[in-house]
Amino acid sequence: MRELIGSLLVLVSFSYGLIEHFDEKVTLAPVRNNELRVDFRFNSDRRFDSRTEVNDFLTFPRIIQELLNRYAVHKLTVTMAHGRWNLDEWGLPPQPSAPAGAQVFAEFEAVGEEDADERMKFLVEALNGVLCTSISHIKVVTAPDFVVLENHKNRKRNLFKRYGVLSGETTCTENLTRLRKLLACKENGLSTLLHPSKLYNSLYHSSHLVIEQHREKNQCEAKMEVGVTVVMRNPSQKGQRPWSFADVFDRKLGSQCKIARSSQIDIIGPSGEITTTDVRNLTAISGAAPIDVSIPIAAIAQKQSVVKAWSSQGGFEQQHGMLTVHITNDDSASKIQVTQIIPYYVHLRYSRIHWKCDKGGNPSIEKVLKNSKGLEAPTLLQYKMSLSAGQTCELIIPFDKHLLRLEQYPPDANHGMHIPASSVFVEKSQFSYSIHSNAILVLLPVPDFSMPFNVICFVATAFALVFGPIQLYSTLWLAPVVKKSQWGRKVHRAILLVIIVFCLYAHMMDINLNEVRRGIETYFEKLNELK
């Protein structure tokens, strides 16, 4: 059966020139004594002739191809994560590195800057629909000059880049469900292990979708990578027995993905050795006889040393604050590029932004500062510098907090607003990677949204400013001497008195005006009824 399908694929691809592959892999590695890191990678690629094979799909998801075509995307990275990556203990974070929240980086073709902004908005909405996220509020969208993420490091001239981070975005089961729907094997193979029951009870959970497309003359190549990385902890595993699939995923592997080119399970042992299980070639997997593996619990001894970055907030008042990004180099020299986005709700003091490094003072720094136009546009700060071994540098950004307009406050305005995590791209001699620090929560001065206070303020202000002069200049008048009727005045005063008394009564008895209105309506209806 398997061979039949495989040969069919080969036949199909040879006859048309369309080549599609699907690979899946899961890597399990204990990073600390009770903590296990699980990496899923599902790669799908497709090579086709743009004249004839545009509408033929075998394993590549059609909706991704439509996204690529409609928005002329060259490369798109979407990541979602919750939790914090422990840079001290766990080594290198999964690339592309994901800050807590949602992150979108898109490189696409467009006609001009405004067209690029418009296209980005449409692209974000389309992603919203594909992935069931709520990132349409992503306002921190900028066009970075230096490198932000490791897989977007190649510069191309005529491409527009847009990068945005939404720190408060949550990631939950529905996003995982949508990612699974993009895979060729949704119900078989390793994707059956993507069951949400345990994956969200974890220290760190991130998922990413990276899609890209190249075109040479008429041959196009499209690639998609879906990845899920989870670090989970099981406190009851204290040295008792190795992990198994049932512990980690709450189920065992009971099926194979027959159309995958490769499907494997890698387990990294304590001294770094990799044990590979090729699922495709296993003969006896079925629902009744699932396979399970045994993962040692001893942590990996050799972990890759990594540059550390974390952000902290200074000040607690409602007028000023300070953001400090701390970067500590590991034990060899590196070239780093730092990106920090500052949203519109804090105002920067540009002259006071400075770097402070130990061990030999500040290195030479190239900087880029982009102040986007527009009411709610963010500011982009980017720096490029070289750090020596073991050096710690701090980027200190003081800012002022201001009152915003009423509609710019989120519904939970007293929670505070996030300043997104900064992204650090590290270039060593042989390899490069990117890491993120953490986001900080800034408490902004918030007006009193409560009704009584607002009413008092409005009324008092109106009285103070408006009433005085208008009353004076409108009431000083000369009138002919006329015998004024006292009855008219008395009736007028009586009516005013009745209204005031009624209002006081209504207020004391907590009468709702809507009820009064309804009462009057029913009364009139009763009057109009024919007996």
């Binding site: 408060g168 975005e169 990631t171 939950c172 089961t173 529905e174 029951s197």
Partner: protein
């Protein structure tokens, strides 16, 4: 012999009479439905962890109507707070509607609007169909004149309004205008509006469009009550009205051909169970509620209508 024949013919005759009598009775029980598809808009309007029960209200109802056949593409679910993956949830990835209940947030839940996208503006856009051109298809209500629409709103409310996300309000006038717009755009065949909040009968007060049946969990001067507290999670997990609604759907409406009617549903939560009087508004609904199946709104039966006219599809259709 003659007696036997007589008795035999009497039996057969009476059988025939009885059979056709039963058949006629069943056919007479329900009006012929005029819709061909079902849509649902389920909205949880309140934010914050302590409003766990509103999210579980919506999810419980969501699962019930999915069980009765409404597909995800026809359901628009709006959840204002991320409860299952909230860092306060002691059981991450799960939502429970009862202490010993089942997890309502498995791997088949599709949430269309969540978090800060649940706003009054988006709700009205969904109903009226006036979206930003970039809005993806899964976030649109693509109903037509043959759709039965279920609108379910739950959250905190008051007299004449429903509180969205603790900062905005949906007034009953807004809702009535949106429904009227739907009527004028032929976007529904029949509609069922359910409001589950305090004083929710005021929400349907201004609705003036035909073919709308409105229900609420409490009258205008009453509060609605929650049902159960889960001391393990530390929150109230479901409201009374929705609890009894979902109970009713699970017990009485087991399949699409169930013969439960809307009056049974309205009676499913009397004051002694719900602790508040449920409100009904039938004056814009032409059919008798005793003759309308519950699954007309809560389920999705594929009803075929035979066309007897010729339709020509031109090239533009195929392009």
């Amino acid at each position: 012999m003659r007696h036997v024949l007589l008795i035999f013919s009497a039996i057969i005759g009476s059988q025939a009479v009885l059979n056709t009598g039963l058949q006629l009775k069943i056919d007479e029980l329900f009006d012929t439905p005029g819709h061909t598809n079902n849509w649902a808009v389920l909205v949880c309007t309140s934010k914050f962890w302590f409003n766990y029960r509103h999210v579980s209200n919506v999810l419980a109802l969501y699962h019930s109507i999915k069980r009765l056949g409404v597909p995800d593409s026809n359901i628009i679910m709006m959840l204002a707070e991320d409860v299952p993956c909230n860092s306060r949830n002691p059981r991450p990835g799960t939502v429970y509607a009862a202490r010993a209940g089942a997890n309502l947030y498995g791997s088949d839940v599709e949430v269309d609007y969540r978090g800060e996208e649940v706003t009054v503006e988006n709700f009205i856009r969904i109903l009226t169909g006036r979206h930003h051109p970039a809005t993806p298809r899964s976030k649109r209500l693509l109903t037509d004149h043959q759709s039965n629409v279920l609108i379910y709103l739950t959250g905190h409310g008051g007299d004449s309004f429903m509180k969205f996300q603790d900062s905005e309000e949906l007034t009953n006038v807004d809702l009535a205008y949106a429904v009227q717009t739907m009527f004028e755009d032929n976007r529904y065949h029949e509609m069922l509006v359910i409001a589950d909040s305090c004083r929710s009968a005021s929400m349907y007060e201004w609705i003036d469009s035909p073919n709308v049946l409105s229900l609420s969990s409490s009258l205008t001067h009453e509060e609605s009550y929650s049902y159960d507290v889960d001391t393990d999670i530390g929150v109230y997990v479901i409201d009374r009205y929705t609890h009894y609604t979902v109970n009713f759907l699970n017990k009485e409406v087991k399949a699409l051909n169930s013969s439960a009617n809307m009056q049974d549903y309205i009676d499913s939560c009397p004051a002694r169970k719900c602790l508040s009087n449920t409100g009904v508004r039938k004056d814009h609904y032409p059919k008798d509620v005793k003759r309308v199946r519950v699954t007309d709104f809560f389920g999705s039966s594929r009803i075929f209508q035979h066309l007897s006219e010729e339709i020509v599809l031109d090239d533009e259709f195929w392009a």
